[in-house]
């Protein structure tokens, strides 16, 4: 088995990375909770917090340009933006605690934070 001798370590490496990704994904998925509110930050500074249980829209103005955040049916999504790649819009909706939408060109991060029914705070109470 010439092929196995030259590629044995490659296969092991690939398997190890996939197992690592799977374990990390499982860990994050098991630990997820419905979020309570989204926190919006620009350049690392929090500029707004919106509850997820109330529909809303928030225009975000930055030095780089503008984004429009929509909260609907317990989830938040970037409706539109004038950044070049539009990745933040394509990322879709977030609803679980810890999930986030990132617009790198505008340095905007939208993060879902703990709701009253989940997370460490509720467990400790």
């Amino acid at each position: 088995m010439d092929w196995l001798r030259t590629h044995g370590h490659d296969i092991l490496l690939i398997a190890a990375l996939l197992v690592l990704a799977g374990a990390l994904g499982l860990f994050l998925r098991l630990g997820r909770h419905s979020g309570g509110y989204v926190s919006v930050s620009v350049h690392g500074e929090t500029v707004a917090e919106l509850p997820l249980d109330r529909d809303a829209s928030l225009p975000i103005e930055t030095e780089g340009g503008h984004n429009l955040l929509i909260v609907e049916d317990g989830a938040a999504r970037m409706e539109s933006a004038d950044c070049p790649d539009l990745l933040c819009v394509k990322m879709g909706a977030v609803r679980w605690t810890g999930e986030s939408i990132v617009c790198l060109p505008h340095q905007v991060v939208v993060t879902v934070e703990n709701g009253p029914d989940g997370g460490f705070d509720a467990a400790a109470r």
């Binding site: 690939i14 690592l20 990322m91 810890g98 999930e99 790198l104």
Partner: protein
């Protein structure tokens, strides 16, 4: 430096830059950082054919030129972190002598993505980017396999650029 050598470096740097541009034309799957890493074809080829120092020089030239032409200061930081971490890991893995181009390229792909998440976490001052790690680990692995297999063929069959 001989003129023929300068011409060869110029050719490889231009090829890497063209592949950067070609990749930016591909549709994005919606998760930032998920990509093929086409320029890595040139870097892996250079790493095996020309050596570590030349691979570093080509990679650096590619990142600086691509950022100047298609990006901005922020994208330069991401690209630089990804490319540097990726090349560090690839050089180390190649030196062990236990891996083929595929294993080296897979480790490079995953390291590239990890480097970019690290810089994003530092720049955006958030630790919440952990959600991207599993996705980018898988995408880096898959992209690394494809790039590695093609690079191995190139290293074996391209007649030019013999050291």
């Amino acid at each position: 430096m001989k003129a023929s050598k300068i011409a060869r470096y110029g050719l490889l740097a231009a090829l890497a830059l063209a592949l950067s541009y070609a990749e930016s034309l591909l549709p994005s799957p919606g998760v930032p950082g998920v990509k093929l890493g086409l320029p890595n074809l040139v870097v892996v080829f250079a790493l095996y054919r020309l050596g570590a120092a030349d691979a570093w020089a080509l990679s650096l030239a590619r990142v600086l030129l691509a950022s100047a032409l298609f990006g901005n200061g922020v994208s330069l930081a991401y690209s630089l972190a990804g490319a540097a971490l990726s090349l560090c890991v690839m050089c180390l893995l190649k030196r062990t002598g236990k891996f083929s181009e595929t294993g080296v390229s897979v480790a490079g792909g995953v390291a590239h993505n990890a480097g970019q998440i690290l810089v994003a976490a530092l720049l955006l001052e958030t630790t919440r980017l952990a959600w991207y790690l599993p996705v980018l680990c898988v995408s880096g692995t898959v992209a690394g396999i494809l790039i590695g297999v093609v690079s191995a063929l190139l290293v074996k069959r391209v007649p030019a650029f013999k050291p």
